[in-house]
């Protein structure tokens, strides 16, 4: 009789164990927080200085190594699109609006990657993407801006200026 009671208790106990059954699912959660891209001017300006008006058409050039250096900060190993365009420098306070009062500036843009010195320069083609090199968790690109002025014998004397825009994006 005792044997039967024990057996019956075991059955009840097993039923109790099964009724406490549980199951767990583990899944991963992920989020990529991307460094907000930034650009800052590090050194120099693009100043062609004083130019004696030429008697024939000629180009005046500033090598990028002597031009403006920008530093792009981004997420490491992420590609950064760089866009820029030729610009027109306009004569300040022109007496009459003519093509003689405008000078075409053709930029020459160079990347030295993470190098802050002018080492291993690579020409940056507008519209292309360049990989920001990882330096301690930060993506860096050093961009050097030079270019040339297309001067004509017809250019008038005066101060010319314009705004160059370098666009960067992921």
């Amino acid at each position: 009789m005792n044997y039967i009671i024990v057996l019956f208790s075991i059955i009840i106990f097993y039923g109790f164990v099964f009724s406490q059954n549980h199951s767990i699912a583990s899944v991963s959660i992920s989020a990529k927080l991307i460094y907000g891209i930034q650009i800052e001017k590090i050194q120099n300006d693009l100043n062609f200085g004083e130019i004696i008006l030429p008697v024939t058409n000629q180009n005046i050039e500033i090598n990028p190594s002597n031009g403006i250096r920008f530093k792009i900060k981004s997420n490491p190993n992420k590609f950064v699109f760089i866009n820029y365009y030729d610009i027109i420098l306009n004569k300040e306070s022109p007496q009459s609006l003519s093509t003689n009062d405008q000078i075409l500036f053709v930029p020459l843009v160079i990347s030295t990657g993470a190098f802050e010195n002018y080492i291993n320069p690579i020409q940056v083609i507008s519209g292309n993407a360049y990989e920001a090199e990882n330096v301690n968790g930060l993506g860096l690109l050093n961009i050097w801006l030079g270019g040339k002025l297309n001067l004509t014998s017809q250019n008038s004397a005066g101060n010319f200026s314009g705004t160059f825009v370098l666009n960067i994006s992921y």
């Binding site: 009789m1 039967i4 019956f8 059955i11 009840i12 097993y14 039923g15 099964f18 009724s19 406490q20 059954n21 549980h22 199951s23 767990i24 699912a25 583990s26 899944v27 991963s28 959660i29 992920s30 989020a31 990529k32 927080l33 991307i34 460094y35 907000g36 891209i37 997420n75 490491p76 190993n77 990882n134 330096v135 301690n136 968790g137 930060l138 992921y170």
Partner: protein
Amino acid sequence: MKLFNYVVLFIYITQLNLYAQISSQSMQASVNMIKPLAITAIGGEIDFSEIILTGTPRNIVLSPQNGKIFKVEGHPNRNIIITFSSQPLTNSQWVSNFGGTIGTINFSPSVVHTGANSSYSNPISITSGSSITLPNSQGIGNLYIWVGGSISIAANQPHGDYIGTFNLTVSY
């Protein structure tokens, strides 16, 4: 031969004695066999994808419909308890590969169920610890659970790939 006769006689007497001790009782034994619970991730991801840091605090929300889908199978019409909790995400693994600053963000889950419907219709919010009856679906208790959530990003949150683990427990 004499010995053999004694043995046969002994067995006969013993059996008689045993039969004399037999009594019988009848009783009913019953047990309710419950189908074991199982939960399986069947699709989707809890992936907030790429978020560009802006320097201002933000709360990024992932709808359960666009998150992870789980299927619970168990005994039909039986109540189950569903438990889960907020989880920290860290970029420590990313920092060990790339460098930078270690940070954490908190994942607050948003959990809903659509009963036995595998499509996202008429979602019902689930709070951790709540009890839900497994709808009977052709003799099997089926329940579809959808998990999304939100993460809170601080103004000075370090960048990097943040990962964590979310556990969803179901029990009778």
